[in-house]
């Protein structure tokens, strides 16, 4: 039995019987680029190569990093992006519609079996849909855009096998922070990590996306989840084309049983990762009484519809504590609209939240809301490296939207179960 990673790579390369370490050339089904690493970086290389893009229908461009563009420099980047999109007749252009890793699946671009690359390090998010997707730099992206293909070294698979049900107020984010602690930031060794087991099968798609997204934090190339009925229902609702053979990708095997790691959801409490690494995680109640200034619900990792819903569950009928601010940047315009219709945005507003644009915002250390010197933040984002979200002296704790919201209510880092009386 071959692994899911090998099956996907085998299909993309046309080569059967792949061994770990085999170098293959894969045909790219979809290439995603954004305003920061995209047109402005690849354009000069494509010009040097004297090439146009290989297939304008297989390229998706998203503006999300320098949004809203408030300086001359960032306005110039957006203008360049728009011109490049027009010149290259890219129809799949999502201008200020939300963060790339969320926009891509919600518009039906990701389906099981695809081989995709993204010009962003959190591109493994696509693995949640049973697609092989990974992040590459600008030089490589230019190569892909010119040729439609890329080389890849067949990776080994590490299987993160989860059993039992998550407790209430415990999420995929908590699972991920626990995995970061267990195997470390480089623990994935650029292999394909696959999330499997009954806990995963019971997660909705946007929660699965959080796991695949942060496969990047585990040092993996890809973060795969085998497709099931939940995947297919999501893809169909998003208007994507489900391949007839999608069941062929229902594979959960490893080459070496030593690469199968067992986790028990029943033993998992809400997690918080201390500055400045996601692997500094521990049970949330170990951090109680830690003060902070800003609570942030944002990013592709932690501000999707399901994350906004979680925050609202905690904040309903409550107010945030004096002396702290709560900033919410919904990950996509669509998710924000849905949350508005469902009354979620109203709950957040009544609790005292401020809203920011549907973009990377503070997560990328961009914009006037970035953290000031010495500020402490509890955040639903993926990374808390030193200085990432603002000033060098600022610091970031990572947690789930439940935990961020509960902390906003008490003004101290808080296990959400305490606020909810569980």
């Amino acid at each position: 039995m071959i692994t899911l990673a090998k099956k996907l790579l085998s299909d993309a390369s046309g080569k059967a019987n792949l061994d770990v370490g085999d170098i293959i050339i894969c045909n790219v089904d979809l290439a995603m680029i954004h305003d920061s690493g995209g047109p402005r970086r690849v354009k000069p290389i494509l010009e040097r190569l004297n090439r146009n893009v290989w297939d304008n229908e297989k390229i998706v461009v998203v503006t999300d990093h320098y949004v809203p563009a408030k300086s001359d420099e960032t306005r110039a980047i957006q203008a360049l992006t728009k011109k490049w999109v027009k010149d290259n007749q890219i129809n799949n252009f999502y201008d200020e519609q939300g963060i790339c890793h969320v926009v891509l699946p919600e518009r039906g671009h990701l389906t099981p079996g695809l081989f995709c690359v993204g010009g962003d390090s959190h591109s493994p998010t696509g693995g949640a849909f049973g697609a092989y997707m990974f992040g590459i730099g600008a030089t490589e992206m230019a190569g892909v855009l010119a040729t439609g293909s890329i080389w890849i070294k067949t990776p080994e698979t590490i299987l993160m096998s989860w059993k039992n049900q998550l407790h209430k107020y415990v999420t995929a984010k908590d699972m991920m922070l626990a995995m970061c602690r267990k195997i470390g930031m480089g623990g994935g060794r650029y292999q394909a990590i696959q999330f499997a087991g009954e806990t995963i099968r019971n997660l909705p798609m946007q929660e699965r996306m959080t796991l695949s997204n942060m496969a990047a934090e585990l040092g993996a190339q890809a973060g795969l989840i085998a497709p099931d009925e939940t995947t297919i229902a999501y893809v169909e609702a998003a208007g994507g084309q489900v391949p007839n053979n999608w069941r062929n990708f229902q594979i959960e095997t490893v080459e070496d049983t030593r690469n199968r790691m067992q986790f028990d959801a029943a033993n998992l409490s809400p997690q918080i990762a201390a500055p400045h690494s996601p692997e500094n995680s521990d049970d949330a109640d170990e951090f109680q009484n830690t003060a902070f200034d800003v609570a942030y619900i944002g990013a592709c990792t932690g501000a999707k519809y399901i994350d906004l819903l979680a925050a609202a569950e905690v904040l309903k009928g409550k107010r945030i504590a004096k002396g702290v601010t709560l900033k919410v940047a919904p990950a996509s315009l669509r998710d924000q609209h849905r949350a508005t219709e469902d009354g979620i945005m109203q709950v957040l507003e009544d609790a005292g939240a401020e809203f920011l644009a549907n973009s990377c915002g503070i997560c990328a250390g961009y914009g006037e809301d970035r953290l000031a010197e010495g500020q402490v933040c509890i955040s639903s984002t993926a990374r808390n490296f030193k200085g990432r979200m603002g000033a060098q002296s600022s610091s970031v704790y990572l947690a789930s939207p439940y935990t961020v919201a509960a902390s906003a209510v008490t003004g101290k880092l808080t296990d959400p179960r305490l606020v909810m009386g569980e």
């Binding site: 085999d22 170098i23 050339i25 290389i45 040097r48 190569l49 004297n50 090439r51 390090s121 992040g135 590459i136 730099g137 030089t139 490589e140 230019a142 190569g143 010119a146 040729t147 080389w151 070294k153 480089g186 060794r189 650029y190 040092g219 190339q221």
Partner: protein, 168 residues
């Protein structure tokens, strides 16, 4: 005569291309390459020298410059029992030879820091001249070999497109 630079500990992208100098031009950044562990490295390294590092070489961020500075300084090959994935990709795409070595060979005394060496890219062999030892590295697949010989991905594609044009 080219020499072997052997590094202990884990060499991450911040040690190779320190964040503080990332905004500087490449030649400036290169002056600070590995200075946290070997302050004399950038000054003393000569063209053709080979770098030997421990497992998970180049772990850290995706910055291409971590590989680019080594190439700029004239390193003819980076050898390690394993590489961080993005560093490995970046090195090859920028035309810097990277070779994997069997972990067991790392304890051979001849693989000493400062040893005079001769490196053979084609045969993936490292000759230690002082005591006439030949270390066999894990050969690169032909495709990657070609990519490196062409000078990296962009020159490789330039060459390929030229050939396609003359053929058509």
């Amino acid at each position: 005569m080219p020499r072997l630079w052997r590094f202990e500990g884990t060499i991450d992208t911040d040690i190779l291309a320190p964040g503080f100098y990332m905004k500087s031009p490449l030649h400036e950044l290169a002056r600070h390459c590995l200075e946290a562990v070997r302050p004399d490295f950038a000054r003393s390294v000569v063209k053709g020298d080979v770098l030997l590092a421990n497992a998970n070489m180049g772990v850290g961020s995706s910055r291409e410059q971590a590989a680019e500075v080594l190439k700029y300084l004239g390193i003819s090959a980076v050898i390690a029992p394993s590489f961080a994935g993005i560093f490995y990709r970046n090195a090859i795409n920028l035309g810097l030879p990277v070779f994997t070595i069997d972990e067991k060979l790392m304890s051979i005394p001849a693989l000493a820091d400062g040893a005079e060496i001769e490196f053979n890219f084609d045969d993936a062999e490292l000759q230690i001249l002082d005591n006439a030892t030949c270390i066999k590295l894990i050969p690169l697949p032909n495709f990657l070999k070609k990519l490196i010989l062409d000078g990296g991905l962009v020159p490789h594609l330039e060459k390929r497109f030229e050939q396609e044009e003359t053929q058509s």
